[in-house]
Amino acid sequence: MNQTVEQVNQVIQQRYKAGFYTDIESDRMRVGLDEEVVAMISAKKDEPTWLLEWRLKAFAQWQKMVGPDWAHLKLPAIDFQKIHYYAAPKQKNRPKSLDEVDPKLLETFDKLGVPLHERARLAGVAVDAVFDSVSVGTTFQKELKEAGVIFCSFSEAVQEHPDLVREYLGSVVPPSDNYFAALNSAVFSDGSFVYIPENTRCPMELSTYFRINARDTGQFERTLIIAEAGSEVSYLEGCTAPMRDENQLHAAVVELIARKKAKIKYSTVQNWYPGDENGKGGIYNFVTKRGDCREDDARISWTQVETGSAITWKYPSCILRGDRSAGEFYSVALTHNHQQADTGTKMIHLGKDTTSKIISKGISAGHSNNSYRGLVRIAKRAANARNYTQCDSLLIGKTCGAHTFPYIESANATAKVEHEATTSRIGEDQLFYCRSRGLGEEDAVAMIVDGFCKEVFKELPMEFAVEAKALLEISLEGAVG
């Protein structure tokens, strides 16, 4: 009997490789949420008064708001008073360099394939590693500084670059934007900050790795990326969490600002713990991501591969304010077992000759539900705006669901908006064709799904495309047969 349980556990472990827990002493704030907790978080970070006030205002707003009920999700009630809003690995002093970081933490990120120490760093990728509520270190800071690029934890930015933070924080996603954005604005604890000066091409890929470790803790991080005129940056984020029977909340806010002719490419490989095959446990992922093409000819591109989380509620969007500015959204969302995803994008065309492109690939297996929700809005003054949307759903098996909710609002007759949508089942004929050529069933499914996602994968930086592909294969194990 025990042996069987162990075997099953081993299989599950294989499926979710990031499901381990790091036993490390944690400095955790008391459970629950009130003004005092908000003030305590702010005090922990030694924040200026304006930021504390900003948080408290957001908290007051949040208290008056209700959670969103329009998504195609079965949302369980979340008891916000049972969550710890701050947890950080205990350390005597804030480490001045990565050499001073607790080896247990370095080991954790090693195990996740994101080595931080000097010897094994990922070539050409600078990493900010966030563990529960704090950033534990950022690599290549010196090299980036030489190029004039600022890449550091959000807490550090508040201390070192307060004027930039104050100018841009909340300028794309105001605290009152939505329920989870307001919550995040009140209690956010860390995240990443990026500043690319004028006419600078960031010399390497920047990335943040988010890790939830502590029990009963929510993660509320903020990312702020500012690309000055004529600059260019590619940013990646990855995320994982231990396997637990209880659900954990993750509510992040990401703000991107692209000035004249600036280009921001933002890629996500989301692999939060999805829960077990009966739908027990997993992360609730409520994220607000928005990019502002604030000036002419700016360009923002979102690419996301969403395989994790019990619930995903996420709509990375672009505000196309500048003339000729362009927004792109490439998405692969995979749901299996009892996972639910309601994800898509918003393209808000305000400037003239603005263009947007949406490529969404939804894959549903098991008993999961996968929805695409997208808004294309063309404002009155957005002459000659163009949008192309392609939205494909792939079903594996007969107990899952795929849904598409496109919204198009056009106030300008010169706009061109195209929408194409398909839903297909992994064909028994495709599977048989592959198998008759010698491919095993799971390899065949992986190959068909990979082909289905190709248009999105080619947007990812090379090494992440490989990771994304491997992740889909693992996530789909047991989906057939």
Binding site: Q430, S436, G438, L439, D443, D450, G451
Partner: protein, 249 residues
């Protein structure tokens, strides 16, 4: 090579093959003809192991192995190949990648080393050239956007690369113009030797003109009702299947 005895196969509960016998020796090419709905494609699918083609009676042995015991991919690794009447499209999956993955999966199952890229490309390029197909096709998705003729020729390319012991060709000639038909026939003849066997399912004599089968069988209502040499297919061509009703088997 292939020994089928009293084979009964049901699809959706309906018995399509109703006691079929067929023996194919090493190096032999057998043609199977017969009217629409007689069970020709069912035979191909049942041999390749398609889900829903349930063997309800009789036996099929391939080189002494009971085929019913094997999954489709195991049958492929054992050396069985089915050229599809309607080859399937797999969007986004590169043709060369697909074929190499299939070949290596078979090699792995047989305990062989994977083929190296250079040798693989060389083999595929030769086969493409033989079938007068553009090399650019390797970079396109499997069968996606291929013309009907290209799809059929692509099946022959796959067969040439996978080098099966027994190939079942299900109406590979239908929908081909005369030039493509010749290329396909040449593709088959190139692979013929004293070990490799073929079962060619066809409606038309014209393919058999190029292939010279060892045996011709007529399938009707799920049974082989007539067997003979080349002359049988010629008689069918001129008289149709009407005479079958007069000659109880």
């Amino acid at each position: 090579m292939l020994s089928i005895q009293n084979l009964k196969v049901a699809v959706n509960g309906k018995e399509i093959l109703q006691g079929l016998d067929l023996n194919v020796g090493p190096g032999e090419l057998h043609a199977i003809m017969g009217p629409n709905g007689s069970g020709k494609s069912t035979l191909g699918y049942a041999l390749a192991g398609r889900d829903g083609y349930e063997i309800t009676g009789g036996s099929v042995e391939f080189e002494g192995q009971d085929l019913a015991e094997l999954e489709p991919e195991e049958r492929a690794a054992a050396g069985l190949f089915l050229a599809f009447q309607y080859p399937v499209e797999i969007p986004g999956v590169n043709n060369a990648y697909f074929l190499r993955a299939a070949l290596n999966a078979q090699r792995k199952a047989r305990g062989e080393e994977p083929i190296d890229s250079m040798n693989f490309l060389k083999t595929v390029r030769e086969s493409l050239k033989d079938l007068k197909m553009d090399e650019a096709l390797l970079k396109r998705a499997v069968n996606e956007g291929f013309s009907g003729g290209e799809k059929k020729r692509n099946e022959i390319v796959q067969m040439a690369v996978l080098q099966p012991k027994l190939a079942i060709l299900d109406e590979t000639d239908s929908g081909l113009d005369i030039d493509a038909l010749k290329l396909v026939a040449e593709g088959i003849n190139r692979l013929r030797d004293d070990k490799r066997s073929f079962v060619v399912i066809t409606h038309y004599q014209r393919l058999l003109d190029y292939l010279t089968p060892d045996r011709v069988h007529v399938l009707s209502e799920g049974r082989i009702v007539e067997s003979g040499g080349q002359e049988l297919s010629k008689r069918l061509e001129s008289e149709g299947y009407a005479f079958l009703e007069e000659s109880p088997s």
